[in-house]
Symmetry: C2
Subunit: 244 residues, 2 copies
């Protein structure tokens, strides 16, 4: 739907530009660029194996790392950011893009801010790693949903599944076009995902039409026999230079 | 889509049956009923005002409590559950409904389980309260998204917004038909929601067709002038007696 295009800016090229982004060059970026991108903590890559990862998660990780050896796939590191430096510039940019967006968040609240998918202790929340295949325009997310993501007893909350779908299709959009915004997310829930199990979210850039990107994905069990969910999404490419 | 009807069982009549459910009678429920419903902690209603609620949240809460005085609206309490008692019965019921659902979660993992929207410290995650108008088949959720739900800097993660939309339309479905499952959730994101702000999620049962329930909602600022998101959903009514 066209009206959904004047939509939510999703931080994808900014906050989400951090996962999968190449480590930045040592030289300082230009001023326009610095005002949009945050200071990441390049010492902590949260997409590397942890003790809390299950056997399934480790096996799949190893399989994908094997696929990376010939260069067809690459692992996308995830660097969380610490400093609030430049955040107000970023928020001003968003407000510049969407002037009717309401009040700004204050400095004290920002100092407590944490990225949603990173705000749980290891093993309790969102454990995930993404891999990208540029030739196929495909992003795969290996996702282990921890016990604090429970919806009905013994299963993941639908919102937690939606969150990781959103993150994965968003990553496909970033890798294709850089700074983007989500306009639509349409999810069919087929089966509940067992708590603490590992699922594979496989997303694909279906087509682009001008500034629109159409990306679909499915969520399957490790052995691919169980289809848990499938989704389509629409992203809009932004031009950061316009507002800098 | 019809195929999406054989979809995800959503705990709505079970786990989500707790919010808004009348306090149970003192007498013991029948065995079939006991096997599906959990033991709630009726001493802790997390939908009551807390020190972490902002001024906007308290003002809106007071306004809706006023609307409750003539009985047209009712506040829906939210009782979290503590015990894992009966959880395995519940999981077995889900697996009975959807036999191809994969492995069961083990007892140790279940002992760590927490409801996703309740797994943050006060003020950091999902702060919300719901009100219901039976005559209008309308559920309103007042939602304050804390600093640990951040997506792009200064704004809520799209997955956190999707989570509360899912919870609110789900509540409309429960109040209308009891035990239900989500089949589809389709969200148009219009504008990013500022972190720590309060939004109003207004959901409405549009129509029922046999076992299908069509529910829509929008997410607006407190003064209703800013439309952040709008969504449609499809739920399927289940018959718990079939599997008990």
């Amino acid at each position: 739907m066209l009206r959904s295009c004047a939509a939510r800016l999703h931080a994808l090229g900014a906050l989400r530009g951090l996962p999968g982004a190449a480590r930045p060059p040592a030289r300082s970026p230009g001023p326009a660029r610095r005002s949009l991108f945050l200071e990441a903590d390049f010492h902590k890559d949260s997409s590397l194996p942890k003790p809390s990862w299950s056997k399934d998660m480790r096996l799949l990780f190893d399989q994908f790392m094997k696929k990376c050896e010939d260069g067809s796939w690459t692992r996308l590191p995830f660097y969380s950011y610490k400093a609030v430096q430049n955040v107000h510039d970023f928020i001003a940019f968003i407000h510049g893009s969407l002037p009717s967006t309401a009040k700004l968040v204050d400095k004290e609240q920002l100092s407590q801010a944490q990225i949603f998918t990173e705000s749980f202790k290891d093993g309790l929340g969102f454990e995930y790693v993404m891999f990208y295949n540029d030739a196929e325009k495909r992003t795969v997310c290996l996702f282990q949903g921890g016990p604090h993501l429970q919806g009905m007893p013994g299963f993941l909350h639908g919102g937690a599944v939606a969150t990781m779908i959103d993150a994965t299709v968003g990553m496909s959009a970033i890798k294709a076009e850089g700074l983007v915004m989500t306009a639509n997310l349409n999810i069919n829930f087929k089966r509940p995902v067992p708590l603490c199990s590992v699922v594979v979210i496989n997303s694909h850039l279906d087509k682009t039409e001008g500034r629109k990107l159409f990306i679909s994905c499915d969520v399957r069990s490790v052995d691919e026999t169980t289809l848990y969910s499938e989704a389509t999404s629409l992203f809009i490419k932004l031009d950061p230079e316009k507002n800098s």
